[in-house]
Protein backbone atom coordinates (compact mmCIF):
# COMPACT_ATOMS: atom_id res chain seq x y z
CA UNK A 1 0.00 0.00 0.00
CA UNK A 2 2.97 2.29 0.63
CA UNK A 3 5.92 2.33 -1.72
CA UNK A 4 8.97 4.42 -1.04
CA UNK A 5 11.10 4.52 -4.18
CA UNK A 6 14.67 5.83 -4.10
CA UNK A 7 13.77 8.69 -1.80
CA UNK A 8 16.55 11.18 -1.11
CA UNK A 9 16.36 14.25 1.09
CA UNK A 10 19.19 16.75 1.15
CA UNK A 11 19.54 19.75 3.42
CA UNK A 12 22.19 21.87 1.76
CA UNK A 13 25.29 19.67 1.72
CA UNK A 14 23.86 17.12 4.14
CA UNK A 15 22.12 14.08 2.75
CA UNK A 16 19.75 13.03 5.52
CA UNK A 17 18.03 10.29 3.52
CA UNK A 18 19.91 8.64 0.68
CA UNK A 19 18.14 6.58 -2.01
CA UNK A 20 15.93 4.68 0.43
CA UNK A 21 13.38 2.24 -0.97
CA UNK A 22 10.97 -0.09 0.76
CA UNK A 23 7.39 -1.22 0.56
CA UNK A 24 4.72 -1.84 3.15
CA UNK A 25 1.83 -4.20 2.54
CA UNK A 26 -1.73 -3.66 3.71
CA UNK A 27 -2.31 -4.60 7.34
CA UNK A 28 1.36 -5.11 8.17
CA UNK A 29 3.66 -3.49 10.69
CA UNK A 30 6.99 -2.24 9.48
CA UNK A 31 9.64 -1.16 11.97
CA UNK A 32 12.14 1.51 11.00
CA UNK A 33 15.27 1.49 13.15
CA UNK A 34 18.69 3.02 13.13
CA UNK A 35 21.02 5.08 15.29
CA UNK A 36 20.32 8.74 16.06
CA UNK A 37 20.62 10.90 12.97
CA UNK A 38 20.20 8.00 10.58
CA UNK A 39 17.28 9.73 8.85
CA UNK A 40 14.23 7.99 10.30
CA UNK A 41 12.31 11.12 11.27
CA UNK A 42 13.33 12.88 8.06
CA UNK A 43 11.87 9.97 6.11
CA UNK A 44 8.67 10.30 8.15
CA UNK A 45 8.55 13.99 7.36
CA UNK A 46 8.92 13.22 3.65
CA UNK A 47 6.11 10.67 3.74
CA UNK A 48 3.76 12.91 5.72
CA UNK A 49 4.49 15.88 3.47
CA UNK A 50 6.20 18.17 5.96
CA UNK A 51 9.10 18.43 3.57
CA UNK A 52 9.09 17.15 0.02
CA UNK A 53 11.87 14.71 -0.90
CA UNK A 54 14.73 16.07 -3.02
CA UNK A 55 14.25 13.13 -5.37
CA UNK A 56 12.44 9.82 -5.50
CA UNK A 57 8.76 8.89 -5.37
CA UNK A 58 6.36 8.02 -2.62
CA UNK A 59 3.29 6.09 -3.74
CA UNK A 60 0.41 5.42 -1.39
CA UNK A 61 -2.50 3.20 -2.43
CA UNK A 62 -1.53 3.54 -6.11
CA UNK A 63 -1.46 7.32 -5.84
CA UNK A 64 1.72 9.36 -6.15
CA UNK A 65 1.79 11.52 -3.02
CA UNK A 66 5.31 12.91 -3.47
CA UNK A 67 5.37 16.57 -2.51
CA UNK A 68 1.67 16.86 -1.62
CA UNK A 69 0.75 19.20 1.23
CA UNK A 70 0.59 17.53 4.66
CA UNK A 71 -3.14 18.09 5.10
CA UNK A 72 -3.83 16.44 1.73
CA UNK A 73 -1.70 13.44 2.64
CA UNK A 74 -3.54 13.20 5.94
CA UNK A 75 -6.89 13.23 4.13
CA UNK A 76 -5.68 10.47 1.80
CA UNK A 77 -5.30 8.24 4.85
CA UNK A 78 -1.88 8.65 6.42
CA UNK A 79 -1.95 9.66 10.08
CA UNK A 80 1.11 10.37 12.19
CA UNK A 81 2.39 11.04 15.67
CA UNK A 82 5.50 12.95 16.70
CA UNK A 83 8.60 11.98 18.63
CA UNK A 84 8.28 15.16 20.67
CA UNK A 85 4.55 14.98 21.24
CA UNK A 86 2.57 17.88 19.83
CA UNK A 87 -0.95 17.83 21.19
CA UNK A 88 -2.91 21.08 20.86
CA UNK A 89 -2.18 21.99 24.47
CA UNK A 90 -4.66 24.81 24.97
CA UNK A 91 -7.57 22.71 23.68
CA UNK A 92 -9.33 19.94 25.56
CA UNK A 93 -8.52 16.30 24.93
CA UNK A 94 -11.86 15.86 23.19
CA UNK A 95 -11.36 18.95 21.01
CA UNK A 96 -8.00 17.55 19.87
CA UNK A 97 -9.77 14.45 18.59
CA UNK A 98 -12.70 16.43 17.15
CA UNK A 99 -10.23 18.39 15.01
CA UNK A 100 -8.92 15.16 13.53
CA UNK A 101 -12.47 14.12 12.69
CA UNK A 102 -13.46 17.53 11.35
CA UNK A 103 -10.43 18.13 9.14
CA UNK A 104 -8.84 14.74 8.49
CA UNK A 105 -11.52 13.45 6.10
CA UNK A 106 -12.42 14.52 2.62
CA UNK A 107 -16.03 14.93 3.74
CA UNK A 108 -16.75 15.92 7.30
CA UNK A 109 -18.44 12.96 9.02
CA UNK A 110 -21.61 13.35 11.09
CA UNK A 111 -21.79 12.88 14.86
CA UNK A 112 -18.28 14.10 15.57
CA UNK A 113 -18.68 14.36 19.32
CA UNK A 114 -19.93 10.81 19.77
CA UNK A 115 -17.20 9.48 17.48
CA UNK A 116 -14.58 11.46 19.39
CA UNK A 117 -15.72 9.82 22.63
CA UNK A 118 -15.56 6.37 21.03
CA UNK A 119 -11.98 6.97 19.96
CA UNK A 120 -11.02 8.27 23.40
CA UNK A 121 -12.67 5.22 24.94
CA UNK A 122 -10.61 3.02 22.64
CA UNK A 123 -7.26 4.53 23.63
CA UNK A 124 -8.30 4.77 27.28
CA UNK A 125 -8.59 8.53 27.66
CA UNK A 126 -12.34 8.96 27.92
CA UNK A 127 -12.04 9.92 31.58
CA UNK A 128 -9.91 12.92 30.61
CA UNK A 129 -12.03 14.11 27.69
CA UNK A 130 -12.69 17.56 29.13
CA UNK A 131 -9.16 18.11 30.51
CA UNK A 132 -6.78 20.50 28.80
CA UNK A 133 -4.34 18.50 26.67
CA UNK A 134 -1.43 20.55 28.05
CA UNK A 135 -2.07 19.12 31.52
CA UNK A 136 -1.70 15.44 30.59
CA UNK A 137 1.29 13.31 31.57
CA UNK A 138 3.58 12.05 28.81
CA UNK A 139 1.97 8.63 28.40
CA UNK A 140 -1.46 10.24 28.09
CA UNK A 141 -0.20 12.80 25.59
CA UNK A 142 1.20 9.96 23.48
CA UNK A 143 -2.16 8.21 23.59
CA UNK A 144 -3.85 11.48 22.68
CA UNK A 145 -1.63 11.81 19.63
CA UNK A 146 -2.59 8.31 18.58
CA UNK A 147 -6.27 9.15 19.16
CA UNK A 148 -6.00 12.35 17.13
CA UNK A 149 -4.28 10.48 14.30
CA UNK A 150 -6.94 7.72 14.41
CA UNK A 151 -9.63 10.39 14.21
CA UNK A 152 -8.42 11.35 10.75
CA UNK A 153 -9.49 7.90 9.55
CA UNK A 154 -6.10 6.64 8.38
CA UNK A 155 -5.31 3.32 6.72
CA UNK A 156 -1.63 3.85 7.53
CA UNK A 157 -0.30 5.21 10.79
CA UNK A 158 3.23 6.61 11.14
CA UNK A 159 4.38 6.38 14.75
CA UNK A 160 7.56 8.23 15.70
CA UNK A 161 9.10 6.84 18.90
CA UNK A 162 5.79 6.26 20.52
CA UNK A 163 7.31 4.38 23.47
CA UNK A 164 10.29 6.62 24.19
CA UNK A 165 10.32 8.19 27.63
CA UNK A 166 7.68 5.82 28.95
CA UNK A 167 7.97 3.39 31.84
CA UNK A 168 7.96 -0.30 31.03
CA UNK A 169 4.33 -0.79 31.99
CA UNK A 170 3.26 2.30 30.08
CA UNK A 171 5.04 1.16 26.96
CA UNK A 172 3.46 -2.30 27.30
CA UNK A 173 0.11 -0.54 27.32
CA UNK A 174 1.02 1.30 24.13
CA UNK A 175 2.22 -1.93 22.47
CA UNK A 176 -1.09 -3.60 23.28
CA UNK A 177 -2.93 -0.59 21.87
CA UNK A 178 -0.90 -0.66 18.66
CA UNK A 179 -1.54 -4.40 18.25
CA UNK A 180 -5.24 -3.77 18.56
CA UNK A 181 -5.09 -0.94 16.02
CA UNK A 182 -3.27 -3.25 13.64
CA UNK A 183 -5.86 -6.00 14.17
CA UNK A 184 -8.48 -3.52 13.02
CA UNK A 185 -6.75 -3.51 9.66
CA UNK A 186 -4.48 -0.47 9.85
CA UNK A 187 -0.93 -0.69 8.58
CA UNK A 188 1.70 0.73 10.88
CA UNK A 189 5.08 2.23 10.16
CA UNK A 190 6.94 2.61 13.44
CA UNK A 191 10.19 4.34 14.27
CA UNK A 192 11.48 3.14 17.58
CA UNK A 193 14.55 3.14 19.78
CA UNK A 194 13.10 0.70 22.26
CA UNK A 195 14.08 -2.56 20.56
CA UNK A 196 11.61 -4.61 22.59
CA UNK A 197 8.81 -2.66 20.95
CA UNK A 198 10.16 -3.18 17.44
CA UNK A 199 10.82 -6.88 17.99
CA UNK A 200 7.47 -7.64 19.51
CA UNK A 201 5.44 -5.66 16.98
CA UNK A 202 7.07 -5.61 13.57
CA UNK A 203 6.45 -8.10 10.80
CA UNK A 204 9.41 -6.62 9.00
CA UNK A 205 12.25 -4.29 9.93
CA UNK A 206 14.14 -1.77 7.82
CA UNK A 207 17.45 -0.53 9.23
CA UNK A 208 18.85 2.87 8.29
CA UNK A 209 22.35 4.13 8.93
CA UNK A 210 23.62 7.52 7.77
CA UNK A 211 20.52 7.90 5.63
CA UNK A 212 21.04 4.61 3.77
CA UNK A 213 19.12 1.38 4.05
CA UNK A 214 21.47 -1.31 5.32
CA UNK A 215 19.06 -4.14 6.09
CA UNK A 216 15.49 -5.16 5.37
CA UNK A 217 13.79 -8.34 6.55
CA UNK A 218 12.03 -10.17 9.38
CA UNK A 219 13.06 -8.92 12.85
CA UNK A 220 15.08 -11.96 13.95
CA UNK A 221 16.98 -12.07 10.67
CA UNK A 222 17.81 -8.36 10.84
CA UNK A 223 18.91 -8.65 14.47
CA UNK A 224 21.57 -11.18 13.42
CA UNK A 225 22.69 -9.24 10.36
CA UNK A 226 26.40 -8.43 10.58
CA UNK A 227 25.97 -4.91 9.12
CA UNK A 228 23.34 -4.10 11.69
CA UNK A 229 25.43 -5.41 14.55
CA UNK A 230 28.38 -3.32 13.35
CA UNK A 231 26.28 -0.18 13.19
CA UNK A 232 24.82 -0.67 16.64
CA UNK A 233 27.85 -2.04 18.46
CA UNK A 234 30.59 -0.42 16.44
CA UNK A 235 33.40 -2.14 14.49
CA UNK A 236 34.97 -5.07 16.31
CA UNK A 237 37.95 -3.67 18.22
CA UNK A 238 41.32 -4.38 16.64
CA UNK A 239 43.35 -3.88 19.82
CA UNK A 240 42.21 -5.42 23.05
CA UNK A 241 41.54 -2.94 25.87
CA UNK A 242 41.41 -4.54 29.25
CA UNK A 243 38.33 -3.77 31.20
CA UNK A 244 38.54 -1.98 34.52
CA UNK A 245 41.96 -0.48 33.90
CA UNK A 246 42.08 3.34 33.90
CA UNK A 247 43.33 4.62 30.57
Amino acid sequence: MLNVNHVTKRFGGLTAVDEVSFGLEMGRILGLVGPNGSGKTTLFNCISGLFPPSSGRIVFQEKDITGLKPHRICRLGIGRTFQLVKPFHSLSVKENVILGLAFGHRDRPAGLRAQAMEILEFVGLSGKAENKAGGLILAERKKLEIARALATGPSLLLLDEVASGLTESESEGIIALLKEINERGLSLLIVEHVMAVIMSLSHRVVVLSDGRKIADGPPDEVANDQNVIDVYLGEPPTTQVEAGEPS
Binding site: S48, G49, L50, K69, P70, H71, I73, C74, R75, G79, R80, F82, K86, P87, F88, H89, S90, L91, E95, N96, I98, L99, G100, A102, F103, G104, H105, R108, R148, A149, A151, T152
Partner: protein, 311 residues
Amino acid sequence: MKKSLLIGLVIMALGLVVPSVTDSEYYLHLFVLAAMFGVLAVYWNLLDGYLGLIHFGYAAFFALGAYTSALVTTRLGWPLLPAFAAGGVVAAVIGGLIIIPCLRMGSYATAIVTLAFAEIMRITATSWTALTKGEMGLWGIPPIFEGAGRTPYVYLITAILAAAVVVLSLIVRSYTGLAYVAIKDDETAAATTGIPVKRIKLTGTMVSCGVAGVVGAFYAHYILTITPALFGIAYTIQIMAMSLFGGKGTLLGPLLGAAVLLLMGEGFRFMENYRLIMYGLVIIATVMLFPEGLIGVVKRGGRLVSRRSGS
Protein backbone atom coordinates in the same frame (compact mmCIF):
# COMPACT_ATOMS: atom_id res chain seq x y z
CA MET B 1 -25.37 30.19 18.68
CA LYS B 2 -27.76 31.43 21.38
CA LYS B 3 -24.92 32.82 23.47
CA SER B 4 -23.47 34.62 20.47
CA LEU B 5 -26.81 36.28 19.69
CA LEU B 6 -27.26 37.20 23.34
CA ILE B 7 -23.92 39.02 23.39
CA GLY B 8 -24.97 40.85 20.23
CA LEU B 9 -28.29 41.87 21.77
CA VAL B 10 -26.62 43.17 24.94
CA ILE B 11 -24.28 45.32 22.84
CA MET B 12 -27.23 46.62 20.80
CA ALA B 13 -29.15 47.46 23.98
CA LEU B 14 -26.13 49.36 25.32
CA GLY B 15 -25.93 51.41 22.14
CA LEU B 16 -29.66 52.23 22.27
CA VAL B 17 -29.45 53.34 25.88
CA VAL B 18 -26.35 55.56 25.64
CA PRO B 19 -27.91 58.50 23.73
CA SER B 20 -30.76 58.68 26.24
CA VAL B 21 -28.36 58.79 29.19
CA THR B 22 -26.24 61.64 27.85
CA ASP B 23 -26.74 64.20 25.12
CA SER B 24 -23.21 65.52 25.45
CA GLU B 25 -21.68 65.51 21.97
CA TYR B 26 -18.33 64.77 23.56
CA TYR B 27 -19.42 61.63 25.40
CA LEU B 28 -21.33 60.36 22.39
CA HIS B 29 -18.21 60.92 20.30
CA LEU B 30 -16.16 58.97 22.83
CA PHE B 31 -18.67 56.14 22.68
CA VAL B 32 -18.43 56.02 18.89
CA LEU B 33 -14.64 55.91 19.07
CA ALA B 34 -14.70 53.24 21.78
CA ALA B 35 -17.05 51.05 19.73
CA MET B 36 -14.94 51.58 16.63
CA PHE B 37 -11.69 50.68 18.34
CA GLY B 38 -13.58 47.85 20.00
CA VAL B 39 -14.24 46.25 16.60
CA LEU B 40 -10.61 46.77 15.58
CA ALA B 41 -9.22 45.34 18.82
CA VAL B 42 -11.55 42.35 18.65
CA TYR B 43 -10.53 41.53 15.06
CA TRP B 44 -6.83 42.16 15.66
CA ASN B 45 -7.17 39.65 18.47
CA LEU B 46 -8.66 37.15 16.02
CA LEU B 47 -5.20 37.07 14.43
CA ASP B 48 -2.96 37.34 17.48
CA GLY B 49 -5.12 35.74 20.14
CA TYR B 50 -6.63 32.87 18.17
CA LEU B 51 -4.51 32.27 15.08
CA GLY B 52 -1.13 33.21 16.60
CA LEU B 53 -0.35 35.62 13.78
CA ILE B 54 1.17 38.91 14.94
CA HIS B 55 -0.03 41.67 12.63
CA PHE B 56 1.93 44.88 13.10
CA GLY B 57 0.36 46.82 10.26
CA TYR B 58 -3.27 46.42 11.09
CA ALA B 59 -4.12 50.15 11.11
CA ALA B 60 -3.02 50.34 7.46
CA PHE B 61 -6.07 48.26 6.48
CA PHE B 62 -8.32 50.49 8.52
CA ALA B 63 -6.79 53.43 6.64
CA LEU B 64 -7.05 51.60 3.31
CA GLY B 65 -10.80 51.16 3.88
CA ALA B 66 -11.11 54.83 4.85
CA TYR B 67 -9.26 56.06 1.76
CA THR B 68 -11.01 53.65 -0.60
CA SER B 69 -14.46 54.66 0.55
CA ALA B 70 -13.57 58.38 0.65
CA LEU B 71 -12.13 58.25 -2.88
CA VAL B 72 -14.93 56.31 -4.55
CA THR B 73 -17.55 58.62 -3.02
CA THR B 74 -15.78 61.92 -3.72
CA ARG B 75 -14.19 61.06 -7.09
CA LEU B 76 -16.58 58.56 -8.58
CA GLY B 77 -19.75 59.61 -6.79
CA TRP B 78 -20.50 56.11 -5.48
CA PRO B 79 -23.30 55.80 -2.94
CA LEU B 80 -22.26 54.96 0.64
CA LEU B 81 -23.23 51.32 0.85
CA PRO B 82 -21.13 50.11 -2.10
CA ALA B 83 -18.37 52.46 -0.94
CA PHE B 84 -18.29 50.77 2.46
CA ALA B 85 -18.23 47.39 0.76
CA ALA B 86 -15.40 48.55 -1.49
CA GLY B 87 -13.45 49.65 1.58
CA GLY B 88 -13.87 46.21 3.10
CA VAL B 89 -13.05 44.31 -0.08
CA VAL B 90 -9.93 46.34 -0.92
CA ALA B 91 -8.62 45.93 2.63
CA ALA B 92 -9.39 42.20 2.60
CA VAL B 93 -7.75 41.56 -0.78
CA ILE B 94 -4.62 43.59 -0.08
CA GLY B 95 -4.47 42.20 3.44
CA GLY B 96 -4.53 38.72 1.91
CA LEU B 97 -1.88 39.52 -0.70
CA ILE B 98 0.50 40.87 1.95
CA ILE B 99 0.08 37.85 4.17
CA ILE B 100 0.75 35.28 1.41
CA PRO B 101 4.56 35.66 1.51
CA CYS B 102 4.38 35.69 5.33
CA LEU B 103 2.82 32.22 5.37
CA ARG B 104 6.26 30.76 4.70
CA MET B 105 7.88 32.73 7.51
CA GLY B 106 7.87 32.64 11.28
CA SER B 107 5.74 34.95 13.37
CA TYR B 108 8.48 37.53 13.96
CA ALA B 109 9.17 37.85 10.25
CA THR B 110 5.43 38.30 9.75
CA ALA B 111 5.42 41.11 12.30
CA ILE B 112 8.24 42.90 10.46
CA VAL B 113 6.75 42.42 6.99
CA THR B 114 3.34 43.74 8.07
CA LEU B 115 4.96 46.68 9.86
CA ALA B 116 7.04 47.53 6.79
CA PHE B 117 4.01 47.24 4.53
CA ALA B 118 2.04 49.68 6.68
CA GLU B 119 4.91 52.18 6.50
CA ILE B 120 5.13 51.80 2.72
CA MET B 121 1.39 52.47 2.51
CA ARG B 122 1.73 55.53 4.74
CA ILE B 123 4.58 56.95 2.66
CA THR B 124 2.67 56.22 -0.54
CA ALA B 125 -0.42 57.96 0.79
CA THR B 126 1.75 60.93 1.79
CA SER B 127 3.56 61.19 -1.55
CA TRP B 128 0.85 60.35 -4.05
CA THR B 129 -0.67 63.79 -3.72
CA ALA B 130 -2.61 63.62 -6.98
CA LEU B 131 -4.76 60.86 -5.50
CA THR B 132 -4.68 61.49 -1.76
CA LYS B 133 -3.79 65.17 -1.44
CA GLY B 134 -0.89 63.97 0.75
CA GLU B 135 -0.41 65.41 4.21
CA MET B 136 -3.19 67.90 3.55
CA GLY B 137 -5.58 65.01 3.84
CA LEU B 138 -8.78 64.23 2.02
CA TRP B 139 -11.72 66.35 2.98
CA GLY B 140 -15.18 67.02 1.71
CA ILE B 141 -16.07 63.39 2.37
CA PRO B 142 -19.86 62.99 2.42
CA PRO B 143 -21.20 62.25 5.91
CA ILE B 144 -23.33 59.19 6.52
CA PHE B 145 -26.07 61.18 8.23
CA GLU B 146 -26.55 64.73 6.93
CA GLY B 147 -26.66 67.29 9.81
CA ALA B 148 -28.09 64.83 12.30
CA GLY B 149 -25.72 65.10 15.29
CA ARG B 150 -23.97 62.12 16.83
CA THR B 151 -26.87 59.92 17.88
CA PRO B 152 -27.42 58.04 14.57
CA TYR B 153 -23.68 57.36 14.40
CA VAL B 154 -23.91 55.80 17.83
CA TYR B 155 -26.65 53.49 16.58
CA LEU B 156 -24.80 52.59 13.40
CA ILE B 157 -21.44 51.82 14.99
CA THR B 158 -23.19 49.83 17.71
CA ALA B 159 -24.91 47.76 15.04
CA ILE B 160 -21.57 47.21 13.29
CA LEU B 161 -19.94 46.26 16.59
CA ALA B 162 -22.75 43.87 17.53
CA ALA B 163 -22.66 42.19 14.12
CA ALA B 164 -18.86 41.97 14.22
CA VAL B 165 -18.86 40.38 17.66
CA VAL B 166 -21.61 37.90 16.78
CA VAL B 167 -19.80 36.85 13.61
CA LEU B 168 -16.52 36.46 15.49
CA SER B 169 -18.15 34.45 18.22
CA LEU B 170 -19.66 32.12 15.60
CA ILE B 171 -16.25 31.75 13.94
CA VAL B 172 -14.51 31.04 17.22
CA ARG B 173 -17.05 28.41 18.21
CA SER B 174 -16.92 26.65 14.83
CA TYR B 175 -14.54 23.88 13.79
CA THR B 176 -12.55 26.53 11.96
CA GLY B 177 -12.22 28.42 15.24
CA LEU B 178 -10.88 25.26 16.90
CA ALA B 179 -8.45 24.93 14.01
CA TYR B 180 -7.24 28.51 14.66
CA VAL B 181 -6.21 27.56 18.19
CA ALA B 182 -4.69 24.32 16.92
CA ILE B 183 -2.57 26.27 14.44
CA LYS B 184 -1.47 28.64 17.19
CA ASP B 185 -0.53 25.70 19.42
CA ASP B 186 1.38 23.75 16.78
CA GLU B 187 1.33 24.36 13.05
CA THR B 188 3.08 21.12 12.14
CA ALA B 189 0.68 18.98 14.12
CA ALA B 190 -2.24 20.96 12.72
CA ALA B 191 -1.12 20.27 9.15
CA THR B 192 -0.70 16.54 9.74
CA THR B 193 -4.15 16.46 11.35
CA GLY B 194 -5.63 17.54 8.03
CA ILE B 195 -5.96 21.25 8.77
CA PRO B 196 -5.18 23.38 5.70
CA VAL B 197 -2.98 25.74 7.72
CA LYS B 198 -2.10 28.26 5.03
CA ARG B 199 -5.62 28.57 3.68
CA ILE B 200 -7.04 29.12 7.15
CA LYS B 201 -4.41 31.74 7.98
CA LEU B 202 -5.11 33.48 4.69
CA THR B 203 -8.90 33.56 5.04
CA GLY B 204 -8.65 34.57 8.71
CA THR B 205 -6.40 37.48 7.80
CA MET B 206 -8.69 38.52 4.97
CA VAL B 207 -11.71 38.54 7.27
CA SER B 208 -9.82 40.50 9.89
CA CYS B 209 -8.45 43.07 7.43
CA GLY B 210 -11.81 43.34 5.66
CA VAL B 211 -13.54 44.23 8.91
CA ALA B 212 -10.85 46.85 9.57
CA GLY B 213 -11.58 48.25 6.11
CA VAL B 214 -15.31 48.59 6.77
CA VAL B 215 -14.63 50.29 10.11
CA GLY B 216 -12.20 52.59 8.29
CA ALA B 217 -14.93 53.50 5.81
CA PHE B 218 -17.25 54.30 8.70
CA TYR B 219 -14.52 56.48 10.22
CA ALA B 220 -13.97 58.40 6.98
CA HIS B 221 -17.65 59.26 6.65
CA TYR B 222 -17.93 60.11 10.34
CA ILE B 223 -14.83 62.31 10.87
CA LEU B 224 -15.02 63.59 7.25
CA THR B 225 -11.28 64.32 6.98
CA ILE B 226 -8.59 61.66 6.72
CA THR B 227 -4.81 61.97 6.62
CA PRO B 228 -1.98 59.49 5.93
CA ALA B 229 -1.26 59.34 9.69
CA LEU B 230 -4.08 56.77 9.86
CA PHE B 231 -1.73 54.23 8.26
CA GLY B 232 0.85 54.80 10.97
CA ILE B 233 2.16 52.43 13.60
CA ALA B 234 0.65 54.63 16.35
CA TYR B 235 -2.87 53.38 15.63
CA THR B 236 -1.75 49.78 15.36
CA ILE B 237 0.00 50.03 18.72
CA GLN B 238 -3.14 51.53 20.21
CA ILE B 239 -5.24 48.63 18.88
CA MET B 240 -2.68 46.10 20.10
CA ALA B 241 -2.58 47.68 23.55
CA MET B 242 -6.37 47.53 23.80
CA SER B 243 -6.46 43.93 22.69
CA LEU B 244 -3.66 42.70 24.94
CA PHE B 245 -4.73 44.78 27.95
CA GLY B 246 -8.29 43.52 27.66
CA GLY B 247 -7.29 39.88 27.32
CA LYS B 248 -5.90 38.16 24.23
CA GLY B 249 -7.54 35.02 23.00
CA THR B 250 -10.85 35.99 24.59
CA LEU B 251 -13.93 37.19 22.75
CA LEU B 252 -14.87 40.24 24.81
CA GLY B 253 -11.55 41.12 26.49
CA PRO B 254 -10.39 43.37 23.65
CA LEU B 255 -13.71 45.19 23.72
CA LEU B 256 -13.28 45.90 27.41
CA GLY B 257 -9.66 46.93 26.76
CA ALA B 258 -10.77 49.35 24.03
CA ALA B 259 -13.34 51.02 26.29
CA VAL B 260 -11.03 51.34 29.29
CA LEU B 261 -7.93 52.49 27.39
CA LEU B 262 -9.86 54.98 25.28
CA LEU B 263 -11.31 56.65 28.38
CA MET B 264 -7.89 56.54 30.06
CA GLY B 265 -6.40 58.03 26.90
CA GLU B 266 -8.83 60.94 27.15
CA GLY B 267 -7.71 61.48 30.74
CA PHE B 268 -4.12 61.70 29.55
CA ARG B 269 -4.91 64.03 26.67
CA PHE B 270 -2.72 66.75 28.21
CA MET B 271 0.29 64.54 27.46
CA GLU B 272 -0.38 64.95 23.73
CA ASN B 273 1.91 62.73 21.66
CA TYR B 274 3.51 61.28 24.76
CA ARG B 275 0.32 59.32 25.18
CA LEU B 276 1.92 56.73 22.94
CA ILE B 277 4.32 56.04 25.78
CA MET B 278 1.32 55.16 27.88
CA TYR B 279 0.19 52.56 25.36
CA GLY B 280 3.69 51.10 25.29
CA LEU B 281 3.77 50.92 29.07
CA VAL B 282 0.33 49.31 29.13
CA ILE B 283 1.51 46.57 26.73
CA ILE B 284 4.67 45.91 28.76
CA ALA B 285 2.84 45.92 32.06
CA THR B 286 0.13 43.60 30.75
CA VAL B 287 2.52 41.08 29.27
CA MET B 288 4.67 41.02 32.40
CA LEU B 289 2.13 41.32 35.19
CA PHE B 290 -1.15 39.87 33.96
CA PRO B 291 -0.75 38.25 30.55
CA GLU B 292 -4.31 36.99 30.65
CA GLY B 293 -5.48 40.62 30.55
CA LEU B 294 -8.17 42.57 32.30
CA ILE B 295 -10.86 40.00 31.63
CA GLY B 296 -8.64 37.30 33.15
CA VAL B 297 -8.18 39.40 36.28
CA VAL B 298 -11.93 39.99 36.50
CA LYS B 299 -12.64 36.27 36.11
CA ARG B 300 -10.04 35.35 38.71
CA GLY B 301 -11.50 37.96 41.09
CA GLY B 302 -14.96 36.55 40.48
CA ARG B 303 -13.83 33.02 41.29
CA LEU B 304 -12.12 34.25 44.46
CA VAL B 305 -15.26 36.01 45.65
CA SER B 306 -17.52 33.04 44.88
CA ARG B 307 -15.11 30.70 46.70
CA ARG B 308 -15.06 32.99 49.77
CA SER B 309 -18.82 33.33 49.88
CA GLY B 310 -19.16 29.60 49.28
CA SER B 311 -17.05 28.52 52.25
